[in-house]
Symmetry: C2
Subunit: 300 residues, 2 copies
Amino acid sequence: MQTLVKKIAITGGTHGNELTGVYLVNKFKANPNLVKRGTFETLVMHTNVKAIEKCTRYIERDLNRAFSLKDLADPEKYSYEDLLAKEINAELGPKGSADPKVDFIVDLHTTTSNMGISIIIDNDNTLTWQLAAYLKEREPKVKIFTWKGDTGDAAFVHSIAPNGFAIEVGAVPQGVLRADIFLETEKLIYHILDFFEKLNTKQLEELVGTVETYDYLELFDFPRDPEGNITGMVHPDLQGKDFMALQYGDPFFLTFEGETIRYEKAEESFAVFINEAAYYEKGFALCLCKKKSVKIPTMP
Amino acid sequence: MQTLVKKIAITGGTHGNELTGVYLVNKFKANPNLVKRGTFETLVMHTNVKAIEKCTRYIERDLNRAFSLKDLADPEKYSYEDLLAKEINAELGPKGSADPKVDFIVDLHTTTSNMGISIIIDNDNTLTWQLAAYLKEREPKVKIFTWKGDTGDAAFVHSIAPNGFAIEVGAVPQGVLRADIFLETEKLIYHILDFFEKLNTKQLEELVGTVETYDYLELFDFPRDPEGNITGMVHPDLQGKDFMALQYGDPFFLTFEGETIRYEKAEESFAVFINEAAYYEKGFALCLCKKKSVKIPTMP
């Protein structure tokens, strides 16, 4: 690969109650040598300081849905997170620029779903996919999930840079630090730094072949009554089973009255983000996806 | 036992982001027959509606610390939860009255700690302990924890009534419904209703002997720097090990720099509320307790 990387950003606290990213950024700020490499600059930052202080996901709106080009250009958007997104875009972007301030963003998240250690990708860029494949080679348990969900126009923090993704690790409650999850995320960050150092010093062998991914199919809501109230829960047999195959007839939801609602699609699929706390208000209980083997993009 | 019970209360949503209680109260309101018994009245209520709407623990202060006699009588206490506590006290109490409006309160909670299905008791009253022993006989996995923690004067919701306790079930994240935990809590409530029905119809045999409890010893904070910032996490070997024995030298915390801090007391103890999200701001990482076998109080 020809690409050279001059600056990357490690961002945490985009959701202020996802503590792993918050405290990893603290650690790297206190020990900058941990993320310093010879051939590029590493910026570490808390993206939503006010939400971190309040230990809440956001103040007025989800910051990690506020980075569409449309919203960033819209002067009518002036909630706390809209203004914050414009600020961050000025600092790390601007998004879509031919000469952005950072080449790559990794945004650190956690989830109450049992996602293990996963990477959420929403672009087709070679460098992003080469890195994802590199990580999966080193840590085979890493799952790659391609998101085409509720955002439409890519609106995540990491979309500001030409390349990037979110690391999404769980299960961990909001407002809780789990040492195992902290350590897994930290290890992945060091692999990412190694990747860019190898890339810049021409020691990286471009990966060819395929990589296993879970591709977004559809968001699936809880059962609800006509007023919109939830009438059931994720079925106990499905709880915690992120990335496992769902077949026709498998238990899906359990109503409060004790009735089992079953998975009724003919095709096998895989559920992820099962019972994520933050998605109750967004109106979905889980996301269905398809397992695929995709060709790793290589440089032309 | 001679006692007759005229009215009990099942309360949920004292912490608005602990969804099991919120949705069980919804279920019982929609199906009052489930909690209706012949010899006493059952009131079901959401205690903190505004916190439930916002899916947050509280609006201004922890409602479940607002029921001390001192605070209830203090006209200077007028935060949202202070006023709410006074309202609830008028509806269910008043606390300390010779003729309170309800005889027993069970307040429904969940925790991010791996507490299984446990009962938190902070009084020595015969009826409360008879019921606790009755539940443990029917569901041996129920743990009884006696709290003499951060509250001093009993300040919990259930302290309004002459008898009562909190059900505390976990691990479940804040803002999440888990079907297994919902079902376990519901089953315990039906046992409680059976107990009072048997009591009132003289079909209850008074329990004698002893019951296993975990008694409060001390609250234990995270390691912190001089500015009060957390410098470590619950050790991965301790995470999720609520109610298991801790011996001298066992791993206790893991600092962000990777150093293990060990349990250094000579005496064995047992940790509970390990890594509960809501207790970070209260300044404790866990509660140490002592396992005991206590004589079940009987009627004089």
